[in-house]
């Protein structure tokens, strides 16, 4: 309570100082300069890595991560601070720019609160990171942030530009563009690729089965996994496909969700898709859902999916799989890190394989693109050096990576000790970064490239892969950490390139105003209906009923709201 009062007083004080003091700083800083000086400043401002003639200090909010400064104690970086560390020193040496932190806070709620406070007080730092899209919209609507279109076009380095473009239709810049103007620099969120059907390879081999591809082939494998005693223990103790009690959602970060079964029927549950007229519509209420639901209902009846999936928690499913009772589930490329796989590898001698199945009508998996951005860098409207934001993102995304100087090495070394972040907390990477790293590691393993071409992160994967391969060659069981690293980084990711998927780009990733209050009841309606249809408690006609109820209980309002929001951009 007291803290709140204090906060309020501070906020009031800020508003007062702002009212009296704002505007002063926006005077033309070149007013008293000679022509030479002006030219030097201009040249620096128009070069992606140009160094300013004098030290420029900008105010910012510093995002701290969990691996913070405390882990630096005992190293030569012990006395580093958020204004004086490997990163800030590097930036200062390179372009003569220094940060001054208006606030410092842990990434997440702590930091977001500070940003909200700054916005409420109408006093935001010169350059800052904002974590969510709705905050960006608020800043743009209140005309508090600068238009960065020219700066982006003139100053963004090739890596940044090509990285954004690698997202194709899902370009993160779209989210930062309002009325055709780029109002922020988006931090990229790497694509997680498509989900795979993970199957017990040893079971397939025991039963003499091929890796499935179509829906029918998947059904045959599941049938064999239940009926033909794949583990050879003489007991009918295996269940079919593991399914999350929520069935789908959160693609592809959701182990055991069966989104791929829906997408194979061109149904995209729980995402906002575009209809034939280009309008945003909710995937879960489209007629394509019926085919997928019918199939799942049939599978449930036959036992091809776990009969008790509605009452299982994620932990229960993991126990089922690691206990060797279930050999089929849908999961992302990093699934070998899931305890379901590591434990079954370590204790049950399970071998797993990721299969591109079930495929859609054109023989490929239909996948869903994820949100391509993970935050934004914005510049206060009226700030005299807005280009600094772009330059720091350039350095972070390109220059420092190619730089081999001692200063750049210092950053690398620092990074391995603690993740003391770059100011602005924004790195732009190509969406398929994971794939690129895998290709690099694979090239070294094949002997077509030298180990020295790998960066620190890649080297870690390479070493794990070598340890795994050595153990296998020696006829031993590899360490399960090495197994996870090898299977995910080298086997699973490799299929992104070898067996590419179709990617559908949702039209909307955010939470609209009415969603905040009505979504819980709409979601309840949806989950109830979907589950009842699958377990056979309700027939398919209840789906139409659900669509009607969903529409009238707020679904239509939300759809209209989203379309309005999208057309306003």
């Amino acid at each position: 309570m007291k803290r709140k009062t204090l906060g309020l007083m501070l906020a009031t004080a800020m508003i007062v100082t702002c009212v009296t003091g704002c505007g002063k700083s926006d005077e033309d800083f070149t007013a008293n300069m000679s022509d030479d000086e002006k030219a030097a400043w201009e040249a620096a401002a128009n070069d992606p890595y140009g160094k300013y003639p004098e030290l420029v200090t900008y105010t910012t909010g510093y995002v701290l991560t969990s691996q913070g400064a405390d882990t630096l104690s005992g190293t030569s970086y012990e006395n580093d601070t958020q204004t004086d560390n490997a990163y800030t020193r590097y930036i200062r040496n390179l372009i003569n720019v220094q940060n001054e932190n208006t606030f410092e806070a842990q990434a997440g709620d702590d930091y977001d609160q500070k940003v909200s406070l700054a916005i409420a007080a109408q006093d935001i730092p010169d350059i800052m990171h904002v974590a969510d899209y709705s905050t960006l919209v608020e800043l743009v609507e209140n005309d508090m942030v600068a238009d960065l279109t020219d700066i982006y076009n003139n100053l963004a380095c090739d890596t940044v530009k090509s990285s954004y473009e690698s997202y194709g239709a899902n370009n993160p810049l779209n989210a930062a563009t309002f009325d055709g103007k780029i109002m922020a620099i988006p931090k990229t969120q790497l694509s997680d690729g498509q989900d795979f059907l993970w199957l017990r390879k040893d079971w397939l081999d025991n039963l003499g089965l091929e890796e499935p591809s179509t829906m029918d082939e998947v059904a045959d494998v599941l049938r064999a996994f239940i009926d033909n005693d794949p583990d050879g223990n003489g007991q009918a103790d295996t269940v079919g496909l593991a399914v999350l009690p929520t069935v789908y959602g959160g693609y592809p970060n959701n182990h055991f969700g069966v989104d791929n079964i829906f997408t194979a029927f061109d149904a995209y549950p729980e995402v906002w898709i575009k209809d034939s007229e280009g309008k945003a519509v909710y995937g879960s209420v489209q007629p394509e859902m019926k085919d997928a639901l019918q199939l799942l209902a049939d599978w449930y009846k036959e036992g091809l999916i776990d009969k008790e999936f509605t009452t299982r928690t994620t932990d229960d499913i993991v126990a089922l799989i690691s206990g060797g009772q279930c050999g089929a589930y849908i999961g992302p490329w990093w699934s070998p890190f899931n305890p379901a796989q590591t434990a079954s590898y370590a204790n049950k001698d399970a071998e797993w394989v990721n299969v591109s199945a079930p495929v859609g009508s054109d023989g490929k998996i239909n996948a869903i693109n994820t949100k391509p951005y993970a935050g934004f860098v914005v510049v206060r409207k009226g700030y005299e050096h807005p280009e600094i934001a772009m330059k720091i993102v350039n350095i972070n995304s390109e220059y420092a990576k190619q730089d081999t100087s001692d200063a750049a090495n210092e950053i690398m070394e620092n990074q391995t000790i603690a993740y003391f972040n770059w100011p602005l907390y924004c790195q732009v990477q190509p969406g398929n970064n994971a794939e690129i790293m895998t290709a690099n590691v694979k090239a070294v393993l094949d002997g077509s490239a030298d180990v020295s071409t790998l960066d620190t992160e890649e080297l870690g994967y390479y070493e794990a892969a070598v340890r795994y391969q050595d153990a296998v060659a020696a006829g031993q069981k590899a360490d399960s950490a090495d197994y996870s690293q090898y299977m995910s980084r080298l086997v699973a990711i490799n299929k992104f390139a070898e067996e590419p998927a179709n990617f559908m780009t949702p039209s909307y990733f955010e939470t609209s105003e009415t969603m905040k209050t009505k979504w819980a009841s709409l979601e309840k309606l949806e989950q109830q209906t979907i589950l009842k249809i699958i377990v056979g408690e309700a027939d398919m006609s209840s789906f139409d009923e659900f669509v009607a109820n969903w529409t009238s209980a707020g679904g239509q309002t939300i759809t209209d709201e989203i379309n309005e929001e999208l057309s306003a951009k």
Partner: protein, 311 residues
């Protein structure tokens, strides 16, 4: 805390302390009073959020006042009727069975004359009370699963296996039964204590008059327990809108929302989508007001019935 206060004034009235001694007692009370003030009275002001569109960055004083909008919103939700009914049904059933079963158990346990046996049973039935629902939910899920012991019994008698936790006909029964199973040992402590307070002379007199064990229980034990039972009921009435969040949250699934979704789980899901402080507070305040009225009513009723209330 309230009882402490009472004891204090009562004690003060009987004995004439010198002023300095009194001050010492007051001083000793200070930490408790400060705690009470900080953690009970101060947060009460937070209830104001229920009448605002609360934005954390703006605080209580900066957020917009919306009157009863939040309450209207709660009752306008399509599921509010359903979750309200579910909450009442489950909580009421728990209230009833959490009295009947512990009382019966206490009476039965009291009949055991071998000391070690009595202690053994008492300890065993206590145990589940000390486990959290997060742990017990796994046990319960397994017990009621298709391959669990309950279904083994069902199929042994020729029935079809039932998914107890995914069946709207069974869910509430399982919830109430498991809750009673978890708590009856602990709840019976009060009744066991009350039983030791019954004058043995009454039983002697009754047996001389020819009353058998059952009649003694009916006409002596139960009436003697009545004040305790009424007291416990009145106290528990305050919880009528708490149907047990942690239990249901760990056991339910969308199929049984129809019979198992309660106010707390529903509000939890609303809160998960976006941090809805005001709505959460409005629900909390609403529940507190109802509980307050029920406790006051029950107290008055108890006073009328037995001549003594809680306060």
């Amino acid at each position: 805390m309230k009882q402490d206060n009472k004891a204090m004034t009562a004690g003060g009235g009987k004995t004439q302390f010198a002023g300095r001694e009194k001050r010492m007692f007051h001083l000793m009370m200070m930490p408790g009073m400060i705690m009470l003030f900080l953690f009970v009275f101060v947060p009460l002001f937070g209830s104001l959020m229920a009448f605002q569109n609360y934005v954390p960055a703006k605080g209580i004083f900066g957020s917009k006042w919306v009157g009863l909008e939040n309450f209207k919103f709660i009752f306008s939700l399509p599921d509010s009727r359903q979750v309200f009914v579910n909450t009442l049904v489950i909580a009421f059933a728990k209230l009833i069975f959490n009295i009947i079963v512990p009382v019966l158990f206490a009476i039965l346990l009291n009949e055991i004359t071998v000391g070690i046996c009595k202690k053994f049973f008492q300890t065993v039935v206590y145990l589940p009370h000390f486990l959290s629902w997060v742990v017990l939910a796994t046990v319960v899920t397994n017990m009621f699963s298709l391959s669990g012991p309950f279904n083994a019994v069902v199929t042994a008698f020729g029935g079809d296996a039932i998914q107890f936790l995914a069946d709207n006909n069974w869910f509430r029964k399982v919830i109430v039964a498991t809750d009673v199973w978890k708590e009856f040992g602990y709840n019976s402590v009060v009744y066991l204590a009350a039983l030791t307070g019954i004058d043995l002379g009454l039983y002697e007199a009754a047996s001389i008059d020819g009353a058998n064990r059952f009649e003694q229980t009916l006409h002596i034990t139960l009436p003697s327990l009545m004040p305790t039972i009424i007291l416990m009921t009145a106290l528990n009435l305050g919880n009528i809108l708490n149907a047990g969040f942690d239990q249901i949250f760990n056991l339910y699934n969308p199929i049984v929302y129809e019979t198992g979704d309660i106010i707390d789980t529903y509000v939890y899901r609303i809160g998960m989508v976006e941090r809805q402080y005001s709505i959460g507070t409005a629900v909390g305040l609403f529940k507190s007001v109802i509980s307050f009225l029920l406790i006051m009513g029950a107290n008055k009723g108890a006073k009328k019935l037995t001549g003594s209330g809680i306060f």
